[in-house]
């Protein structure tokens, strides 16, 4: 495959103030985002958040009500789908059932005016890339779900699109296969050097595959950043809650000094954490702390310690989840890695404990 030098400064897709309205309903509320060349970019959000609409607008299946979409500097939002150098992997694959695997994969090139022989040759290469050469002569109905998925990928990649759009392509596969395909997709993206725009509602998929993730909800962009950044420093309650598990505590800010905010929560518990711009004294906001960044102890420690009582321990394979009711306060979940069991003991249900927060684990969030 020819591969241009990765250039993170080049913008592959630039969405500017895109709005999508269906009658009175606004599906996308003025979204702007830039997707870099050669990146694995994910649009993540619950169903109905507008992520698929945005993808279909880039592909050309939906009109843009307002705003513009640029592809490597060229405005494409008024072009029909067959004039846009992007290809799509559909959620249900949409493989042409009356054509063989080879004809499916070669279809795009044939439509671009290449000779039948060249289309077949290229289809052969693509099938090799997705390791399906032995199924070249079959019809899609004779393939398993995972194989169909790979044919759909090969078909969309064969015309060497500038950007590949993937609309929840893994959702129809079973869990094991989905996990394998995540890795394969990521590999394929690296090998081909093509920009991938991936749509999913599965936050784990988004975190494991993406270079960057755009979290969307009700037609708005909530946060855009690298996977780790989004997980560790969510901008608001929606992002913190949607990505991974978290303890969301309602707090009131009592005092802010030297970049630290002192807050109290139900039951009279008090703690300090980093102050956040836009959250002042007296504000009633949420505080998010990931369960794996909490640990339990018998006595208060140097860290922020809150007293409580263990309600239950839940074994979840790699971790133990301990549910703790803070004294007169809210309930919290603490995750202890099983490998750390030697170091951090498990407290039986009913025992009095302290819930301790690692440095920087607690984050104040705007709603």
């Amino acid at each position: 495959m020819e591969k241009s030098a990765p250039d993170t400064a080049t913008i592959a897709v630039d969405v500017r103030d895109a709005v999508k309205r269906y009658g009175d309903f606004t599906a996308l509320k003025r979204i702007s985002l830039s997707i870099r060349d050669n990146e694995f970019f994910t649009l993540l959000g619950p169903s109905g958040c507008g992520k698929t609409t945005l993808l279909r607008m880039i592909a050309g299946f939906e009109d843009v009500t307002e705003g513009e979409i640029f592809l490597f500097g060229d405005e494409i939002d008024t072009l029909p789908p067959n004039k846009r150098p992007v290809n799509t992997v559909f959620q249900n694959y949409a493989l042409f059932p009356h054509m063989t695997v080879t004809d499916n994969v070669g279809f795009g090139l044939e439509m671009l005016g290449r000779t039948k022989a060249e289309a077949r040759r290229r289809a052969g290469e693509m099938l090799e890339l997705v390791r399906l050469s032995q199924f070249a002569g079959r019809k899609p109905a004779q393939l398993s779900g995972g194989q169909q998925q790979r044919v759909a990928l090969a078909r969309a990649l064969a015309p060497q699109p500038k950007v590949l759009l993937l609309d929840e392509p893994l959702s129809a596969l079973d869990l094991k296969l989905r996990q394998t395909m995540r890795y394969e997709l990521k590999e394929l993206q690296r090998e081909t050097g093509i920009t991938f725009i991936f749509v999913t509602h599965d936050q784990e998929e988004a975190l494991t595959m993406s270079d960057r993730v755009a979290v969307m909800s009700s037609g708005e962009l909530q946060q855009l950043g690298e996977a780790r950044e989004i997980y560790e420093t969510p901008h608001n309650v929606f992002v913190a809650d949607f990505i991974g598990e978290t303890n969301l505590l309602e707090v009131s800010v009592d005092q802010i000094a030297q970049g630290r905010a002192t807050c109290h929560l139900g039951g009279g518990h008090e703690l300090t954490c980093d102050a956040v711009e836009g959250i002042g004294v007296g504000a009633h906001v949420h505080l998010s702390v990931r369960p794996e960044r909490l640990f339990l102890s018998e006595a208060p420690t140097e860290a922020e310690s809150l007293p409580g009582r263990v309600r239950d321990n839940i074994f979840v394979g790699t971790d133990i989840q301990t549910i703790v009711d803070l004294n007169e306060g809210p309930r919290m979940t603490v995750r202890t890695s099983n490998s750390a069991r030697g170091a951090r003991r498990v407290f039986e249900a009913g025992s009095a404990v302290y819930v301790n927060m690692e440095q920087g684990a607690a984050r104040l969030l705007v709603d």
Binding site: F61, N82, L95, F96, M111, L112, A141, P159
Partner: protein, 269 residues
Amino acid sequence: MARGKYDIRRYPGFLPMTVLCLTLLYAPLIVVTIYSFNDSSSITNWEGMSTRWYVDVFVGVESDKFKSAAWNSFTIAMIAATVSTTIATLAATGMIRAGRFRLRTLSFGLISLPLMVPEIVTAVATLIFFNSIGFVRGYTTILLAHIAFCIPFAYMPIAARMQGIEDSYEQAALDLYASKFQAFTRILLPLMAPGIISGFLLAFIISLDDFIITNFVKGAGVETLPTAIFGSVKQGIKPNIMAISTMLLAISIVMVTISYLVSKSDNTK
């Protein structure tokens, strides 16, 4: 296949019921077929095996009448089925692919209504229509009437087939740089083919078989096979009618077989 406890064949009376139904359906056809080979001028007395009535159909006194009627029937059925299938295919594409539009339910009703209107009403209406615009009755009026009433019959299997074809195939084709026309001819049409062929065969048989409307709109001297047979029978049933009927039956069996094979040969497998 459901077998075992809930197998319908275990219900009491299943076998006698089946035999009764099959007998009622096929006994008359079998009798006609057998007596068409009767070496007798009577239609009820068996006097031995013969193909004389088949010969009579082709060279007998009425042969010219039947030959020209058969040719009319065949050409009308062919043209009517072709034209009505084309119109029905376009109608189905428009109805199902245009998304939700106002009056869609009404449009569907208008297309399928002729199936439910008593044929005699259509026949009278068509006759009045041709008279009122001063159309001379003859071959053309029969053909136009057949094209019109064959459309709903062709439409049904085509629309049913099309309903099962997801939009995403055409979108995928467009996404892969096909023009709208290419998406239609390369993707949609092959996927619709079994429906279109069924629609064509159905329209063909319906046209070939039609008596009432044809009888109203045909001019003097122009006959189709059904009207010619009817005209002949009015002067008493002769065994040559049974020979013609048997041949028509054979054609129907061939058509049904083709239709079955087409639906079996799924181009997606």
